[in-house]
């Protein structure tokens, strides 16, 4: 089970890194065109929601690295399993939020 979980979590991690580069390019493009959080309500939500999501992504990546290091130990305790499951669940929660934020900010007109 932890193997299946880590496979899914890392697949998500790869997806997330591409999203991160994408967002950094988007921010610089917008700021280059003088589009900031005070431009209008939409961009206030856009920068706030994607910015808060970005913080969660950073936290989630930190959690994944921590779990990866932990999984390389010689012995794994029942407490570690709870840690792996909680970390993976947090990571999937971050993914879930993006599934909602993406259509709200990029697709719905």
């Amino acid at each position: 089970m932890p193997c299946a979980r880590s496979g899914r979590a890392w697949r998500g991690g790869v997806r997330c890194c591409s999203r991160w580069r994408f967002s950094a390019a988007e921010y610089s493009e917008k700021i280059g065109h003088d589009i900031t959080p005070v431009t209008n309500n939409f961009y206030m939500f856009y920068f706030m929601l994607t910015g808060i999501h970005f913080m969660h992504v950073l936290l989630g990546l930190g959690v994944l690295v921590f779990l990866w290091l932990r999984s390389r130990r010689a012995s794994i305790t029942p407490g570690d399993i709870v840690l792996f499951e909680s970390g993976a669940t947090f990571w999937h929660m971050v993914d879930l939020l993006w599934i909602v934020l993406f259509p709200l900010l990029y697709l719905m007109k």
């Binding site: 299946a4 899914r8 999937h92 879930l96 599934i99 909602v100 697709l107």
Partner: protein
């Protein structure tokens, strides 16, 4: 190989198909028909919340959690999705 036989892998494929369906809805619409645009946007929102339900149940493993958590995990995407789509359609 056990990863390939895991139900979550099948769900992941379904999620990819749902993303492709969203793409199709997003790119196949008449630009001037506002009613059509409303329908397209509604479908995009609906697909997103169906995806959310699958992520909660299979990836966050709420499907095998105690019933109270299963209830919350089942009701949350329906309630939030319905609230957003109703506000969108009626605004």
């Amino acid at each position: 190989m056990s990863l390939l036989r895991h139900p979550a892998t099948g769900v992941w494929l379904l999620l990819m198909l749902a993303t492709a369906l969203s793409w199709w809805f997003g790119t196949n619409h008449a630009p001037d028909a506002s009613q059509h645009l409303l329908r397209t946007t509604f479908m995009l929102g609906l697909i997103a919340f169906v995806k959310v339900s699958f992520v909660i149940m299979y990836f966050m493993e709420v499907r095998t959690a105690p019933w109270a958590l299963r209830m919350i995990g089942g009701v949350w995407p329906v309630a939030v999705g319905a609230a957003i789509l109703i506000v969108y359609v009626t605004a």
